[in-house]
Symmetry: C4
Subunit: 168 residues, 4 copies
């Protein structure tokens, strides 16, 4: 059986720390956390959604910073899953909510907890600086590191597969 074609991707799932950020956990003396997102990732995510495709988030950690970042993106609450102890189960929830087939889902990850979900989706992707075991399971590896434009790179790649990535 042939592998799913990336041009058929309808939904793109992102891990957060190490994917939408550079993996730093910035904590101050009061326990307040700061996350380092990337402006061009944000532009890419809006571009992807404006073309009619969907975004979901699955992260093992929890925090308010992510909510603040995503507030204006228009992602449905059911597709933002924080505190996930099992990313494959979180993927089940996303499948149930959207009705999209696994074959039409792409996933961008960086570390072992992403592997159970990556093994199931049609198009698993890894950030440039992902752990070796994650790189090994990815069908596409971004040229940029997490938090340094990896998400934009992944979106550009998928839209290029669809022939729809152009500023004109």
């Amino acid at each position: 059986m042939s592998q799913p074609d990336p041009k058929d991707t309808q939904l793109l799932v992102f891990d957060v720390d190490g994917v939408l950020t550079d993996g730093t956990i910035n904590l101050d003396d009061h326990g307040v956390e700061t996350k380092r997102f990337n402006v061009r990732d944000g532009f890419g995510m809006k571009l992807w959604m404006n073309k009619g495709f969907q975004i979901a988030i699955i992260t093992g950690r929890s925090g308010e910073a992510l909510k603040h970042r995503l507030a204006t993106f228009g992602i449905e609450d059911e597709l933002i899953i924080q505190g996930s102890g099992n990313k494959s189960e979180s993927l089940d929830k996303i499948l149930a909510h959207t009705g999209i087939d696994e074959a039409h889902i792409a996933y961008l990850g960086d570390d072992w907890p992403d592997l159970p979900a990556m093994r199931r989706v049609g198009y698993p992707m890894a950030v440039a600086d992902a752990e070796p075991e994650v790189i090994a399971k990815a069908r596409y590896i971004t040229t940029r590191k997490g938090g340094h434009g990896a998400a934009r790179d992944a979106i550009a790649h998928l839209l290029e597969c669809k022939g729809r990535y152009s500023p004109e």
Copy 2:
């Protein structure tokens, strides 16, 4: 028709995120954003203005951090445009306020939203780590990345074109 000469630049327009910063959107649990500006960019901006040239800012995002950074620079309020949904329209406002000809304007950008304004000005420039489509439209590409001295580099280049960049 020959292209405008960079030595005739009177006004330099900067995007913010990814140009005056490294493109990181640093958000804490309370939604407070921190921007990472660069001290040498600031020195360059003051040098440029002290020699009688102007600076304008056009950014799609909004926030108080930018105002705090620019507070001591002496840039007119009308030349600091935040929340721009269309940077070409924002450029119109700058043209109307200053009366400077497009041919005498330089613009330093990094991503697609900068392209409509970059196409109109006399001297479009891109930061070293700009998106490929922006690099392709630039007449000058800085050697430094956004937030790592790209603005200083652009100013040094323009002043060198004018024969006016020297610490002596």
Copy 3:
């Protein structure tokens, strides 16, 4: 006499600044400090402890940020030593509390204050960007820099020595 075998390591000691962080001391106008930890180091530390091994922390500085980071890791209070003026003496306390032999202890350091403790343990390790004098005393040098996954790298190396590093 042969050197201790890293596969016998039972306890791994970490310095903090420059090892679990990138060595930046981020201070704001109010004196509040922010530490830059790494999400994949955290995953590695949990993996190490879940396999029944121990972690201790010895740092010369003090602050609340570290406590917030370690809160969910389950490290005993006696094994988190802040404000250490003499890391060899701090090691004594860890030995007394755990009863583990020096030969079965590994230590990951980056700078001169780590040397007195590194000289005593069975398996001294240095981060990729450690001071030369620390590199010289290490039996293993991580490929990643402090705060950029050095701790994960050290744990992966020790677990590989034990034949127990695999996501399967």
Copy 4:
């Protein structure tokens, strides 16, 4: 006349932004600034002072973060000059207060405002990523960038010139 010998250096002057930090001006929505110092620079500064030598600070900017960082170092108030509009004049104050000869002073800088002071001291030094005009005037260029250990490097170099840099 021969140049002053670096082994005779008694006082080391540091610029702050771009020298003791990486040059980022981190500003949040409330105008609170965070400075990124380096833990190993701090160790070097204490080492230098413990051996009986002096440190002074001259910076064009002002803020509380610097005071918090230097609080435990024991530098005299008169040798910490913030808001300097003319670093050569600030050097005069340091000379008057300490009575040390210019020939026995080293200065670590990164940008044009440091040049007037650098030209006067016996041993001008530049961080690895200093502006080209500053590199050109330096007798020593650190291998590390500002905020990434440049100050530690400069101190190690001076102590090596004196034959006094060793962890033993």
